[in-house]
Each structure stands twice: as structure tokens, then as C-alpha cells.
């Protein structure tokens, strides 16, 4: 990676930033110089925040959500319905669903979606851990809330095939049309999905 133009510390920082997702060589260079030119307090806060997150935040041993304890807040909460598990790709999806206040069960965070071309198969995700949780007979319903894109759909297909034979009720979130969007601008796939997933009122 180090084909950089600068020497020593500044190039090391550019290289380190360039390894972050979504940051190309140009952005890495821009951020590095921004840090170099800003107050030392801003830099110190950044260093501290990075250090703390690595020290303090772990992954819940039950559901895989980010947590400062061995088990996350939701898994520890006795008021949550332990018979239902909602399966999501990332921790940020838990936050999004929590915001709707529609769901009072527990979660399982996979850590991504199946994408063979990227080398991500079932073994690279927390699917074995999910199966272990399902061997507990109190769980009766699984809601698959993976992203409404192809990787998410394929992951849901894979999980449904695995879970259904266990006699557990499996459902998939109906992906509706984007809220606030004009029907005419909705693409055919999304529109098709919305029709397929429609519920009787």
C-alpha cells in the first residue's frame, strides 16, 4: 500500500486512514492534513475516542450487537419477549428498528449479508451462533429483517431454508415503497416487492 508521496508520520497516517471503508487515497490525504493543521485538542479527542471504543465496546455474546457489557441492554432486559428474534445485518439496523417501537422481542446481528463474490458465505457470518440460540425451544418466531437488496434477500432465503424445518415460524419484512416517494419514480423491482408483500387490511 505504501507508495505514498510523503515521508514518515504523515504518510503513516494517510495509509492508516486509507484502509478505512469508503476512504480513497485523496480523502485520506485531505483528512490527514486536516488533522495536522487542526488544534491538538481535536486530535487528542479523536485519539481518545478511538482508544475508548476499542477498550470498552464489545459485542454481545448472545446477539452480536455492540455492547459495553458481556450482554447488551436488550438481551438483559427481562421485559423483552424472548420467544421472538429479529435477524438483522448490522448493529445500526437494531437502532433503526428500535426507533419504530414496533418490536418488543430480541435481536440477532449477523455481521453482514451473504455475498460469495466478496468471499462472504454463511461461515463468515454469525449464523452458527443463531442456530445455537434456536436450539432453545422457547423461540417460536423469527423475523428476517435483512436489507431489501439482493444480498439481503439471498441471506433471508438461506436462513429460511435452514430454520423452517425446525418448526419455527419464519417471516420476512415486507419491503414497502419508500415513504414520501412518488409512485411513478419507484423502480419496478421495489414496486413488485411491495405488491408481493402486501397485507390485507
Amino acid at each position: 500500500m505504501s507508495t505514498g508521496m510523503y515521508e514518515g508520520a504523515i504518510q503513516d497516517l494517510i495509509d492508516a486512514l486509507g484502509r478505512l471503508p469508503g476512504i480513497g487515497p485523496k480523502s485520506a490525504q485531505r483528512i490527514a492534513f486536516h488533522i495536522l493543521q487542526s488544534d491538538s485538542e481535536i486530535a487528542a479527542n479523536l485519539v481518545e475516542a478511538v482508544r475508548t471504543v476499542k477498550e470498552r465496546v464489545k459485542f454481545c455474546t448472545q446477539c452480536g450487537n455492540v455492547s459495553e457489557e458481556t450482554e447488551c441492554r436488550i438481551c438483559r432486559d427481562p421485559r423483552r419477549d424472548g420467544t421472538k428474534i429479529c435477524v438483522v445485518e448490522e448493529s445500526k439496523d437494531v437502532i433503526a428498528i428500535e426507533r419504530t417501537r414496533e418490536f418488543r422481542g430480541k435481536y440477532h446481528v449477523l455481521g453482514g449479508a451473504i455475498s460469495p463474490i466478496d468471499g462472504i458465505g454463511p461461515d463468515q457470518l454469525r449464523i452458527r451462533e443463531l442456530m445455537q440460540r434456536l436450539s432453545d425451544s422457547t423461540i417460536t418466531e423469527i423475523i428476517l429483517a435483512t436489507d431489501p437488496n439482493l444480498e439481503g434477500e439471498a441471506t433471508a432465503t438461506y436462513l429460511a431454508r435452514l430454520i423452517k424445518p425446525m418448526g419455527i415460524n419464519v417471516s420476512r419484512l415486507a419491503s414497502g415503497l419508500p415513504v414520501g416517494g412518488d409512485l411513478e419514480y419507484a423502480d419496478e423491482v421495489t414496486l413488485g416487492r411491495a405488491f408481493e408483500g402486501r397485507t390485507n387490511l
Binding site: P21, N149, Y158, A186, E188
Partner: protein, 248 residues
């Protein structure tokens, strides 16, 4: 593309791969009919309100308009020709096979400006056959792999000896030696191949589906093994998706 040429261009393409970029964008790798393999940025595609919707997903056959840029081209318009992806996700085996086809196509084509019309037609045909469930999915993959090897100039010999051209079928199959080899020419590390497996591979390469579909499961497994090993030998790095393909 030089500055004197038009900055805006249009082409037919199949989406090979997508990668997240920043907050809401994606880098899309496409195999186009006229411009070969290109990478383009789709701005805002991950927002549910995006005008691109679900058209820019792996396996989609699209009509696309691009704006050429310095590092990346930017995707400005997309019309769906066929969304194969949707049908492929309904069956996990087919989904893994679709990924193997897309990854192979990526590896057999050169980036930028190198037209790859044969490979393009091959990928479109593969996606169509898979989505329509026209033949056994595993056979569709092996046919695709053999034809890609052939287009790439690595077609294995399945009848005559690849070294002395003595008519076959021969019992020995060599990855290094270009496929079928006779008793006298075989290198020490040759595998053996049944005449039925070789006949199946020949049928898949030529598109003789009547013959291919009459083959027995054990010969299909044997042919898959030979094709996969031969392909991996000819590619510098192994394909990531291939070990995840569910074979019958």
C-alpha cells in the same frame, strides 16, 4: 478515454459487483457490450429514495448512461432490460452460481475499453438460463466456465491428446497439459477422466443440452471437479465464490 471524445456515453451492461462507497454511494463494476469492463460510481444509490432503485444490483441487465471522469465514471441514468437478480435470490444454489458466473466474467475480462462482446453475451445467456431455471443450475455453471475458458483461449482438449493430437477419448486429463492427454504424453501429475465425463464436458461446451441432461449424477460431479480444477489452474488467484457453490 481522451478529453477530445464525448464525455457522455451509453451502453448495454450487466452488473458484476457492487461495493459500498462513503455514506450512500456504491462503486459498480459492470461488463458492458462495447466498452468492456468498467467501474462507475452510483451516487446516492443506497438511499431508499434513489432514482436508481434496485436496478444496480449484481446480475441485472441494464441500459446505462455514464459520464466519464478521471478516476471513476459516474452513472447518470439506468434503464432495466432484465432484472435477473430477483429470481436468483429465491434459490440459494442458483444465487451462489450466479455469483460464480459474475466473478468469472470479471476475471476473464480486462478493465477499460477492451470490448468483450463474446463474454458479455455469455454472461447474459448464463443469467437468463439460471433465472428461467432452464437446465440444471450446476450444468449451467460448468457450461459457462468451459465457454469462458474457450473464449479466453484456454479451451481444454476433451477428445484428442492435447500434445500429439492422437484421437481419443483418453483416460488421462492434465491441468498443465491442456486437458486430455494420451498414455505416452501424460505428465506425471495427471488425473484420470471417464469418457462419460469428457463427453459431458464436450456437450456443455457445444451447447448440446440433450446429451448433457441425460448424464448421470456421478459423471456430472466428475466433470464439475475437472472443470473447476482446470479453471483454478488457469487463473492466478482462485475464485472466492466457487468454493461456496452448492453442487448437487
Amino acid at each position: 478515454m481522451s478529453a477530445s471524445q464525448t464525455k457522455l456515453y451509453r451502453d448495454e451492461a450487466i452488473i458484476l459487483r457492487t461495493q459500498k462507497l462513503g455514506e450512500a454511494d456504491r462503486i459498480i463494476t459492470l461488463l458492458t457490450k462495447e466498452h468492456g469492463r468498467i467501474r462507475g460510481v452510483a451516487k446516492g444509490v443506497r438511499r431508499t429514495m434513489s432514482k436508481f432503485g434496485a436496478r444496480l444490483e449484481p446480475g441485472s441487465h441494464v441500459d446505462i448512461q455514464m459520464h466519464s471522469g478521471k478516476t471513476f465514471d459516474t452513472i447518470t441514468q439506468v434503464e432495466a432490460i432484465m432484472n435477473y437478480g430477483e429470481a436468483l435470490t429465491e434459490d440459494y444454489q442458483r444465487w451462489t452460481i450466479a455469483h460464480a458466473i459474475l466473478e468469472t466474467a470479471e476475471r476473464f475480462t480486462q478493465q477499460e475499453e477492451e470490448p468483450a462482446q463474446q463474454e458479455f453475451q455469455l454472461v447474459v445467456g448464463g443469467m437468463k438460463a439460471l433465472a428461467e431455471n432452464r437446465y440444471d443450475s450446476s450444468l449451467i455453471l460448468d457450461a459457462f466456465l468451459l465457454r469462458s475458458l474457450s473464449i479466453g483461449g484456454y479451451e481444454p482438449s476433451m477428445t484428442a491428446c492435447s500434445r500429439c493430437e492422437k484421437p481419443g477419448p483418453h483416460r488421462y486429463f492434465s491441468l498443465v497439459g491442456g486437458g486430455s492427454v494420451c498414455m505416452d504424453c501424460r505428465p506425471s501429475a495427471s488425473a484420470t477422466a471417464s469418457s462419460e465425463a469428457l463427453e459431458l464436458m464436450q456437450a456443455l461446451l457445444k451447447g448440446d443440452w440433450d446429451v448433457a441432461e441425460k448424464s448421470e449424477p456421478r459423471h456430472r460431479r466428475e466433470a464439475s471437479g475437472l472443470v473447476t480444477a482446470y479453471l483454478q489452474w488457469h487463473l492466478e488467484r482462485g475464485l472466492r465464490s466457487l468454493p461456496m457453490v452448492e453442487r448437487a
